[in-house]
Symmetry: C2
Subunit: 154 residues, 2 copies
DNA sequence: ACAAATGCCTACCTAATCTATAGAGATAGG
DNA sequence: CCTATCTCTATAGATTAGGTAGGCATTTGT
């Protein structure tokens, strides 16, 4: 299960991608529009900034902007920043290569590790091939599709 | 990240699959051999029994056995029982179809939901195509392979 | 019938993590 | 200098994960 933190991050980034005009967007606007607790969001945005996805401007007229075009931001990168590297078992964590599960015994022969390695590959392949832009676009398409159906039904 | 509970379950089931002689195996043996806290394991085994994977025998000469051949037990089923249906977002949970994330707004148009649906498909495809028997076999093969290498190096 | 071996059940505890909040501080613009 | 804004540190509450304790129920062998 992804955390609320990650969900909020994805929502906030989606909003930024959709409403990007070159001008910074306020935390308070993001919080209000996407229904995210203001202070909680602050912390999330800081993480994303430190992760290189956002840039900020302090002071009057300040706010947040994407630091990278949304086509270059993979979902995997976002999740990685918020969840601290997504893995199913400690010993397969991207960040902490040296960490070994105590349960593994011999990691090279641990069946769990072998299977979860496959799962991780499957997850990563989606995460790395899907960008923030894709996510926004799919959402938009779904919305259009739905409104068409509504039109017909009226 | 899968929980220790799930890891313990996989280890215990692996042991049962490997040492299955038709005779029940004691909780205490499982706990000792696989290094799992005894009482914690009890609870896990009960879940697995209720999930239809194990059967038990009470009283002297009792213990646990697989209720199904290991070739018919998918990893997905095991994880499902222990984690209560593996999902990345609430609204994609197998068990609670009606649960919707408050964050989704309109679930049919939620970009996060759409993307995580893809991820879930990817995970499930591995989970459903890998059995307990596969896991044990891969572990065994890895062990053999390793011992060969060691032989050569001596 | 009884004792021993075994799983079953309920309740509980602790520590970690997740979610959220508060408030003072730093910085920029006008 | 004042205001709007992000930044940082600390903390509090809720939930979950991981683990423990003890007594109950059932079966088997004698």
């Amino acid at each position: 299960m992804i955390s609320k933190k990650t969900k909020y991050a994805l929502k906030a980034l989606g909003y930024l991608a959709e409403h990007s005009t070159g001008e910074p967007i306020l935390i308070s606007e993001l919080a209000k529009e996407e229904n995210i607790p203001r202070k909680f969001l602050e912390a999330i945005l800081v993480s994303l900034r430190k992760g290189g996805i956002l840039k900020s401007k302090i002071g009057k007229g300040g706010g947040y902007m994407l630091a990278v075009p949304p086509t270059n931001i993979t979902i995997g990168r976002i999740v990685g920043i918020l969840e601290g590297g997504f893995a199913l078992v400690e010993c397969l964590n991207d960040n902490n290569v040296e960490v070994v599960c105590v349960e593994c015994g011999d990691p090279t022969c641990c069946g769990i590790r072998l299977v979860m390695g496959d799962v991780k590959k499957a997850i990563d392949s989606v995460f790395e091939s899907t960008t923030l832009a894709d996510m926004v676009e799919r959402s938009e398409l779904a919305r259009q599709h739905k409104s068409k159906i509504v039109d017909f039904s009226i």
